[in-house]
Amino acid sequence: MDFSLGERTEAFRVQVRAFLDEHLTADVIERMHASGTFNDKDFNGALAEAGLLAGAVPGYGDRDPIELYVLFNELEKAGAPYDGLAVTMLVAGVIHAVGTDFHHTEVLERLLTGQFNCCLGYSEPDHGSDVAAITTKAVRDGDEWVIDGQKMWTTMAHEADWVILLTRTNPDVPKHKGLTMFLVPMGLPGIEVQPVPTMASERTNATFYSGVRVGDEWRLGEVDGGWAVMGVALAFERGVMGGTNPAVPLLNHVRNWAAEAPSPDGGTMLDDPLLRERLARTAMANQVSQLLTLRAAWIAATGGLPGLEGSMAKLYATERYQQAVGWFQQMAGAEGLLSFGVDGAAADGWIDYDGRHSPVVTIYGGTTEINRNNVAERHLGLPRAR
């Protein structure tokens, strides 16, 4: 085995880090937390101009999945806004895999300027983990489709130019077989976006579709072939594009705090043996999370489909992050409860932020239970439990 990234990938990483040093200012990070939208078009545009965006699109660019991992891992570790970028990569990858020339010109090429965005329209109010049961319907009318329904957790919909929308086109067949995917321009009449505030700083949305008419050219993949398109999208989503190293910036914030914070036992919190133990356990888990993610990227880079390995990386990384957040919240005591911008807040409010953010990581992008089901059935070969 060889754990070095290799010259080319290392050079790419150096390039990404240099970009972040220059463009990821305190302003960008503050704006992201103040707005609750982890997407910054100026930042994205600069990334595109630096030539770092197009190359990383799965299958489309000249960068391999390990380099895609490197890009998102560096963004994540630096605390950069990358939610919009992750969706850009995912949708660009899907369009490259199943899209038409029209989709390339209208959507993919624009996405790659960093100035345009897409959002994900899969979940509905009554259909989350069981996403194949969604009911938003698309009915054919000549060369057009008429869409009616509601989507939930459409994060960034208020800034997005398109939504990648999973719809039901045939209610009379088993649920997986009657789905069709569309790219829908968000400016069309009949689309309404309502904000859904969360307990953390991030904002998400509910989106409503009422008699939305969209031409057949916006269909992505086959009619009733939406589940296959979902499969392509999920394979890109899980593991490689961020989400598995959130405890790297956490560790940094906590140890900087601990070096200054007086301990009630004397000295600073960095002298506290239990805190030191937990810093080390976090550093160890960060390494393991990185390796599990790199494995998924490496499998993709060598022609495999790392679905299960992505599930394992997500399971491990998200639970360890939550555990670490719980430890450090508890150890920071009252100061750890104080928020961004508040006098005396531990780690400038980051501990409160991570405490608010962490519950969602075992829910979005495939819940822990869905991932455990995947591992139990497809890796361990246990009988289907549902």
Binding site: M1, D2, F3, S4, L5, G6, T9, L20, L24, A26, I29, E30, I66, N73, K77, G79, V248, P249, L251, N252, R255, N256, P273, R276, E277, R278, L279, A280, R281, A283, M284, Q287, V288, S289, Q290, L291, L292, L294, R295, W298, E309, S311, M312, A313, L315, Y316, D348, N371, R372, N373, V375, A376, E377, H379, L380, G381, L382, P383, A385, R386
Partner: protein, 373 residues
């Protein structure tokens, strides 16, 4: 980046998998209790050349890398082979690296003389709970800043200490031990050997964890309650579904530690920057790998035993053999919490060094938002 074994390692894996399947395994581990040493299997192992394989060819060994040895250790661990192979190999490598490598003689390389390592510094002239102390003809220990070798072999078996994991543990009196080396070089040589022990023991624990999971999965597929296999219940499935990622993660970290150890041997310096999650420093990865693999093995054996129901607790089923050994090997060196505190000391010290260096070069302050300078 390449996560495949090399062709040579694949061959090594196959050869040793076949050997440990044929000559060891749970039944042999059970019959070797309470001592934890199968003399017949060890005799057969000598024919494979394994005892000397970790020593450089220039000193008469097989020239295997730490990464190669980790592959062997994992195969041994999955069959809970009652053989002191990791301890012997680590000690041969220590002896061969000394300025005077003569203690790593032909008998030691062949394995007809078994050597072992006292992991913890001696206290009042006694090396306590030496992992293979009850079967090693020679034990290397650190006594103060002296690296010594004890060749006192009378009534070794009588010295065996009955223990949780049925390992061949014994205290060794160093009164008649000879000095091999002294001073900082001796302390560093011992530390390096213990780091190799951490890495190869982690590899052993990965093997144990993997097999414990297999035992649990196979059992819940067979065992029926309420008219269906207990493995069809989601509550049971989810206990087991956490384990593959945990075990694979420990395996990857252990393989990375072995890779870093081989790079250190080749004179390539490692990095230690936890803020960027860039760690290729061997001692740090060695410590992390033992903590991670210990945790994986302790949890995998616990969950697997639990899903066996009452049978898991009975002597008849193999899972209890894995359960006890996983704990013994995880806790033999030290409390993992103390290992973690030592680990924190290493990366916080690296941080102090970096800060001192950057102050010296008068570089700008790190950006408090991003940690980047």
């Amino acid at each position: 980046m390449d996560l495949n074994l090399t062709e040579d390692q694949e061959t090594i894996r196959e050869v040793f998998a076949a050997f440990f399947d044929g000559e060891t395994g749970p039944a042999r581990a059970r019959s070797a209790e309470p001592l934890g040493f199968d003399a017949t299997a060890w005799e057969r192992l000598l024919e494979t050349g394994a005892p000397g394989m970790g020593v450089a060819e220039a000193v008469g060994g097989g020239g295997a890398s730490l990464a190669d040895l980790a592959v062997v250790a994992t195969e041994a661990g999955s069959r809970i082979a009652p053989l002191p192979l990791v301890d012997h190999i680590v000690t041969t490598r220590l002896l061969a690296r000394l300025a005077d490598p003569s203690a790593c003689n032909d008998d030691v390389l062949a394995g007809s003389a078994i050597v072992g390592l006292a992991l913890r510094p001696a206290t009042r002239g006694i090396a306590r709970t030496v992992p293979n102390g009850a079967v090693a003809h020679r034990v290397v220990a650190l006594d103060g800043d002296r690296l010594v070798i004890d060749q006192h072999t009378d009534n070794l078996l009588d010295a065996h200490l009955a223990n949780h994991g049925c390992l061949p543990l014994a205290h060794r009196d160093l009164a008649d031990a000879e000095t091999l080396a002294e001073g900082p070089a001796a302390v560093a040589a011992h530390a390096r050997a213990v780091d190799e022990w951490r890495t190869l023991t982690a590899a052993t624990l990965v093997g144990m964890a993997r097999e414990a999971l297999v035992l649990g999965v196979n059992y819940v597929k067979e065992r029926e309650q309420f008219g269906r296999p207990v493995g069809s219940f989601q509550a049971v499935q989810h206990l087991l579904a956490d384990l593959p990622g945990l075990i694979d993660g420990a395996h990857l970290l252990t393989a990375k530690a072995a890779w870093a150890g081989d790079r250190a041997t080749a004179g390539i310096a490692g990095t230690l920057d936890v803020d960027a999650n860039d760690v290729t420093d061997f001692p740090v990865l060695a410590a992390m790998s033992l903590v991670a693999a210990g945790e994986a093995a302790v949890l995998a054996t616990d969950r697997s035993l639990h899903v066996h129901g009452g049978y898991g607790f009975s002597e008849e089923y193999d899972i209890q053999l894995y359960y006890r050994r996983a704990r013994a090997l995880t806790w033999l060196l030290d409390d993992p919490a103390r290992e973690c505190r030592r680990l924190a000391g290493m990366f916080l010290a690296a941080d102090d060094n970096r800060l001192a260096a950057s102050a010296h070069h008068d570089s700008p302050q790190a950006n408090p938002e991003t940690g980047r300078s």
